[in-house]
């Protein structure tokens, strides 16, 4: 502890005038002096100290348990056990005591939400009324959320849906419990009118769970088919896109960029005759490029719906146009395609002696590509 303080103190000594420590000390100094002048000029310091004292007194009054069985007691026990949970070194003990803290906190807060006459700052607050929206008391859903967080605290983030799907039914159970408890306390069977309400309560909460599940289902589809995000979703009767305007680039762009590097690896710097042979066999070569590209991209289900093709434009020497066409669901129903053109030019090999450059077989190819062009609707025509 002492070491830590010493280290802190040495850290806070400004090494030079233009350091953050100097700025910090100047700020603190200005704050203290400014505050002092302000308080002396406007009102005296003692009064302001008293006001702070008053606030603390009020908070203390609110948090002091009026009787042994009250929500304040539970909150204090929970704070106490949380502080205790910081002491042990072993993770298991710590986790256990922290869980105990939760177990006291949840009923404490649940109880607090039923408080109808809470005295804060000399005024009464009806917490229960504040949490009631159009006749529905929201308390059980807040408690339910906390119960879900506690129950599924070990669930990893990628299985987050468990929490959301269990939340409404657990809340419904919490909301329904008072109907099953008679004074005593004793178990009781709710009367038919209450049972009717319970049926509607449970069914509507199950429906809420279904909506959460629908959300997670659409998300899993978006993970499998990321290119869906790149498209116009305004026609959909199911989903809506927020933060509109900017659309993600289609994965076709990444695919064509990857294809560019594959083609460069295969052709750039090769002998011109080999390149011409490659271009002559374009179709099987592009299929090979497609498999390589798909192997390098992240493997998702949508890869099967992309098709890579290439053709050499007629009367050029040589312009290779690569086409990535999307054959999956799209806003217009027919898909779309992206293109990228590459110029393959013949240059003399600078590494060889000049005497040999006249010979065509020593000339090598250079590949340079344009950026991917904007998508075109429909499918590319199948002509070569």
């Amino acid at each position: 502890m002492l070491d830590f303080l010493r280290q802190l103190a040495t850290n806070l000594i400004p090494p030079s005038l233009a350091s953050w420590q100097a700025a910090l000390w100047i700020l603190i100094f200005i704050f203290i002096i400014g505050n002092l002048i302000f308080n002396l000029a406007v009102r005296n310091i003692i009064l302001s100290v008293l006001a702070i004292d008053e606030i603390f007194k009020q908070i203390r009054q609110t948090l002091t348990p009026p009787k042994p069985d009250s929500w304040q007691t539970l909150i204090w026990i929970s704070i106490f056990s949380w502080l205790m949970s910081l002491l042990p070194i072993s993770d298991i003990t710590q986790g256990f005591i922290a869980t105990c803290a939760w177990c006291f906190l949840i009923p404490g807060i649940h109880w607090f939400m039923y408080e109808e006459k809470l005295k804060v700052f000399n005024s009464e607050v009806n917490v229960k009324k504040g949490l009631t929206v159009s006749g529905i008391f929201l308390g059980p859903w807040i408690t339910g959320a906390m119960v879900c967080i506690l129950l599924f605290s070990d669930v990893p983030d990628n299985r987050n849906w468990v929490r959301f799907i269990c939340w409404p039914p657990i809340s419904a159970i919490i909301a329904a419990t008072p109907k099953f408890i008679a004074t005593g306390p004793k178990w009781k069977k709710p009367d038919p009118a209450a049972r009717q309400d319970l049926v509607i309560l449970f069914l509507s909460n199950f429906l809420l769970s279904c909506w959460f599940q629908l959300y997670f289902l659409t998300q899993s589809w978006l993970v499998d088919y990321p290119s869906l995000r790149a498209q116009d979703l305004s026609k959909s009767a199911f989903v809506v896109r927020f933060q509109g305007g900017e659309t993600m680039p289609s994965r076709g762009v990444a695919m064509l960029d990857q294809a560019e590097s594959v083609v460069k690896e295969q052709l750039d710097g090769q002998y011109w005759s080999q390149v011409e042979r490659w271009l002559f066999d374009l179709r099987p070569q592009m299929q090979q490029v497609e498999t390589i590209v798909k192997g390098r991209l992240t493997p998702v289900a949508e890869n099967a719906l992309w098709h890579l093709d290439g053709r050499v434009l007629p009367r050029t020497e040589y312009q290779l146009r690569m086409i990535a066409s999307w054959e999956g669901p799209s806003a217009n129903g027919t898909g779309y395609y992206l293109t990228k053109s590459c110029q393959i030019t013949r240059v003399t090999n600078s590494r060889l002696p000049i005497a040999q450059t006249a010979n065509a077989s020593t000339q090598i190819a250079r590949v340079s590509c344009d950026p991917v062009a904007a998508p075109t609707e429909g499918q590319p025509d199948t002509g070569t």
Binding site: P192, R195, Q196, V199, I200, L203, S204, F206, L207, C210, W211, Q213, L214, Y215, L217, T218, Q219, W221, L222, Y225, L228, R229, Q231, L233, S234, K235, S236, A237, F238, V239, V240, R241, F242, Q243, L305, E327, G328, P329, S330, A331, G333, T334, G335
Partner: protein, 185 residues
């Protein structure tokens, strides 16, 4: 934490359709089975929520077992409200029609069973089938038979209520289609 693509439209449409269906069915129950308005409203709400919930359950549980082509069609339908690659639509539409029919009769059966279950849960005896006083054979006309068939009321009422709510929802969907086709934004 939440992504920018949310199924909010589906939820809003579902709420709207549920409200319409509950209102219409409550009205039909009120007219034909004569409970008070509140009870018929609660009944309609319960059975509609129940059939919707079971429908979602069937959807979520059957979804992983769909063949991949169907799955893509489903995704296309949900994200773009159309089936992709139009030639396939010819083979999709009979499937769609049989699905719609299955949905109608499925909800009808679910609602009927749900109503029975609700009666059991609330400890209400199901309304006794009205004893039709057998008229003398010579007065038994066609109309009378029809009347007797109608008064075997529970099943018939649920059928009528279901048909009414489905028609109203179809009408709304039709309006939406017209609006999207002829008055695009």
């Amino acid at each position: 934490m939440f992504s920018e693509v949310l199924p909010l439209r589906a939820i809003l449409f579902q709420v709207l359709f549920l409200l319409i269906a509950i209102a219409i069915e409550a009205f039909v129950f009120h007219r034909r089975l004569n409970p008070d308005y509140k009870t018929s409203m609660q009944y309609a709400a319960s059975i509609n929520l129940f059939s919707t919930f079971v429908g979602w359950l069937i959807f979520f549980n059957s979804q992983p077992f769909l063949p991949p082509e169907w799955r893509i069609q489903l995704i296309s339908f949900i994200f773009f409200e159309r089936f992709y690659s139009d030639p396939l639509f010819v083979s999709v539409s009979p499937v769609l029609i049989s699905f719609a029919l299955a949905m109608f009769f499925g909800t009808f059966l679910l609602k009927l069973k749900g109503l029975d279950f609700l009666d059991y849960l609330l400890e209400k005896a199901p309304p006794k089938k009205e004893e039709v006083v057998e008229p003398r054979p010579r007065y038994r006309s066609r109309e009378n038979q029809l009347l007797r068939f109608r008064s075997n009321s529970r099943v018939y009422t649920v059928l009528v209520a279901n048909a009414c709510s489905f028609s109203a929802i179809l009408l709304l969907l039709f309006f939406r289609l017209v609006e999207q086709t002829y008055f695009p934004k």
